[in-house]
Symmetry: C2
Subunit: 284 residues, 2 copies
């Protein structure tokens, strides 16, 4: 499949990410429909030109119009949804998602999926600390990465089409990783950082600290404002990998702690020189 002008997109789950996908695709001239749980989200999206049409009802009649179906649901709901309603998909449809963990999602879906449709996993590494289609904002893709996680079951054509979706959405970089590589990377770069921010913010009451807080503490805790339902689900799905990354961090942190406890200045300074050197790669 090629993503050409008359391809019709269905967004399932019209929240912040689903809504931002819909907005970007509609603005490009595509026909975008939506299925979501609450009528008010459909109404808002229609009134604001984010979708052409949408429904809270899951029917074959509506679903089999669409060439590409993008799932922007919580992970567990996603699996159940596809299990229950995959019979309604149009023959030849391309199915993709936005889930932040890939291994436990991609293989499960591919194993149960009909032979005449294809699922390619994707992870748009974009977000905001707000929720809902009311906050949809396609500009969040502009400086973000979009990662496609194909498996042996995927065709070249479907992988290319999925990447093309990332391109037309406006992502800065489009990358390809195996589901396993993805989950290790995301466990370290995203999930571990959220665990650190949450733990740090939980250490003390914050009201009286605000007056003395500089940029360091603000930067380290920005992502401590977190959707607890979604992130706890993502953490559990990536449990083994995230535990490994947490333990790695804890061992490094303990090294520094013990160097301080034993007044080992050389060791502390060596750890600081390494971090200074490595951080240079990240200067934008």
């Amino acid at each position: 499949m090629k993503i050409i002008n008359d391809v019709k997109f269905l967004i399932v789950g019209l929240g912040l990410i689903g809504g931002s996908y819909a907005q970007a695709l509609t603005d490009l001239g595509y026909e975008v429909g939506a299925i979501t749980r609450t009528q008010s989200s459909i109404d808002y999206a229609k009134e604001n030109g984010i979708i052409a049409h949408g429904t809270t009802e899951i029917t074959e009649d509506y679903i089999n119009k669409f060439d590409v179906i993008i799932f922007a649901l919580y992970p567990r709901v996603l699996i159940e949804w596809i299990e229950k309603y995959q019979a309604y998909f149009k023959k030849g449809a391309l199915i993709t998602d936005v889930t932040g963990v890939k291994g436990p999602i991609v293989y499960k879906i591919q194993d149960m999926l009909r032979e005449d449709v294809e699922f390619v996993g994707a992870h748009p590494m974009a977000g905001k600390e707000v929720y809902g289609v009311q906050n949809a904002d396609k500009s969040i893709f502009k400086n973000a990465n979009y990662i496609v996680t194909p498996t042996d079951k995927n065709t070249k054509e479907a992988i290319e089409a999925t990447k093309q979706i990332g391109k037309i959405l406006g992502f800065k970089t489009i990358a390809e990783l195996s589901p396993e590589e993805h989950d290790e990377m995301i466990g370290f770069l995203s999930q571990l950082t959220h665990c650190i921010a949450v733990s740090l913010m939980d250490c003390k009451e914050s009201e009286k600290l605000v007056d003395y807080t500089g940029d360091s503490f603000r930067d380290l805790t920005r992502i401590a404002k977190i959707n607890d339902a979604m992130w706890s689900e993502l953490f559990l799905l990536n449990k083994a990998e995230l535990l490994a990354q947490m333990d790695l961090f804890m061992s490094k942190f303990s090294e520094l702690r013990n160097a301080l406890a034993s007044e080992d200045t050389d060791k502390m300074r060596e750890m600081m020189r390494i971090s200074t050197e490595r951080r240079k790669y990240f200067d934008k």
Copy 2:
């Protein structure tokens, strides 16, 4: 003492902070002199209108001209300097500093100081990830906090004058804490966050991670670019307090880790709800 127009300021240590102090005070019309180790820093500061005059020689002749002496040296050097040259201070001079740890500095200096001069500790919570007078930039004070840490030995007048220096430098807030309160607060908000950033950055080689790195990891490691000589000295000076803060963080982080390991979703979500709630106070 009141900080009036004909007060003469001496900056000892013309680095980033000393240079930025000098720039701000000179721009306000004060006569600012400097003592620092390298002639090139003096030359640069004179050529760029940051100071009126300066020298690498430590002489009574030069030093006893000044009403206010601001020390912007590394902590250990600061103590030695005052011990060795305090005889040169002008009678009635106000002495202050910029050191990031107060307890071990303030009392030591006050205990050995001449009776006819006064030392009031101060901590400008401002900085940059670059060094030297060449990077002097008084705008770093604009959104920053300035904390004065007086003791029983200080007079009201000297405390007020030290606060006034913070005001004329352009700091956003001027606060007063005891040296002990300061060190606990700074151990948590600043030193602990630097320990976290350094440890996180040290976990993995970063070259191949750059392509997938979003804002979360960038935010959490910005301060991993660190002056290892200065920060290791500050950590050691605040050792007991910083170890307590590191242990507090580790215990919270372990709580979250163990909740994940035992798949205790309620506990994970509770920790996330607390962090979300507390982070709200910090929204600028």
